[in-house]
Subunit: 231 residues, 2 copies
């Protein structure tokens, strides 16, 4: 069940020693509250005072664990990424390679967007917050998004190798398109409160996948392959 140690290390999980000391434990408690708070207010709206109140500590005692607000923001991004990886990406990897794995990813992602946290998603919020504010936090966020896109593309590539998708499909393009669908879903669901948001997003994903299916091998000539591909 527990992922191998090297996988955890890869995700940026600190070693057990650093987690089990008193300081390590409160640090993790702070980060938990910080991620939750940042989901509601964004990374910019996450203030030292409000977070300290949230965890029931003094400002100084709380921020001492990170050094500065910027370092705290970076830690929050890392904690949120770790959470997303372990709760959405990793579980999807245990689905059969190919389209099932892609759909498992979408399912987990959607559940995450629908209900996991009150307030939404740190990444969506900080993406628009930081897109024109250069600095280490913005750079980290961009790296994480690039890494996510790579993961999606890799999972999709498995579907090409399995023959579920066209051999000439573009995994990178699929990653971008899927991300757009999820952004639209988030917008419809969170801001507009559209009850059909999930249904619409799932239809959009279906359309995305249908467009990438291999043509039913024509007996050399049949011009109606398109109709069948809709299956």
């Amino acid at each position: 069940m527990t992922p191998a140690a090297d996988v955890l290390a890869l995700l940026g999980v600190p070693p057990a020693q650093a987690r089990e000391s008193k300081g390590g434990r409160t640090r993790e408690a702070i980060l938990g509250a910080a991620v939750a708070l940042a989901c509601r207010t964004g990374l910019g709206g996450l203030t030292v005072g409000s977070l300290a109140t949230e965890v029931g500590m003094s400002k100084s005692g709380m921020i001492a664990h990170f050094g500065s607000k910027e370092a705290l923001q970076l830690a929050v991004l890392d904690a949120a990424a770790l959470e997303f990886a372990t709760e959405v990406v990793l579980p999807a990897l245990s689905a059969p390679r190919g389209e099932p794995r892609v759909r498992a990813l979408v399912d987990g992602w959607m559940v995450c967007g629908l209900m996991r946290r009150p307030g939404g998603c740190v990444f969506v919020k900080s993406s628009t917050e930081l897109d024109e504010q250069p600095g280490p936090v913005r750079d980290r966020l961009r790296d994480q998004h690039l890494e996510l896109a790579r993961s999606i593309a890799r999972i999709f590539s498995g579907g090409i190798r399995e023959g579920h998708f066209r051999a000439d499909a573009d995994p990178e393009r699929f990653a971008v398109d899927l991300h757009a669908v999820m952004l639209g879903f988030y917008h419809q669901h969170r801001l507009l409160g559209d009850p059909r948001a999930e249904e619409r997003a799932r239809a959009a994903v279906d359309a995305l996948l249908d467009a990438e299916r291999p043509p039913a091998e024509p007996a050399r000539g049949a011009p109606d392959a398109v109709a069948e591909a809709g299956r």
Copy 2:
């Protein structure tokens, strides 16, 4: 050239009298700077002090034109919506009804997202900022997005009546899908700096439109009607 008075009134433009007095003029100057600033920092990051500095006024003198920061935010949203309507939506309406009008809308929208303002788009930024912060500003923003979706759907409907799109196509769904593509475009372009962002978004729009085209009537009749529709 100038839109009719009733159209302007519909868009929320104040009457000339209110615009041409001294106060009206500076109010408009403030709003211009405010929209530009909000594009960089978001509606929340738009502070009274920074805006006053930007326009070269005192805080008190500046905010006196609106009464409170919240009223300023509402005015900024309205000003930005007016700008978007006159620079993107209205011009598109002068394109021939149907697919050309849809494409004109997308073109204008894309140019707007690409280069019109340094810093991005107030609406994208405030959508994620406010999606869980109830209040008048959030309500206004939601109304504006619903209105935009209605406009898109209406323009698309024209394409159905013209026979460019399937009769059973869902204009509302198209509006949601198109918005998702634009959100993805914004994300790729602004945060990730993807040079292929525009190309990718245009391909996604093409895919969206292709999926809505009427089936080439199989029997009796040129199956190439699609090609002509593009004209």
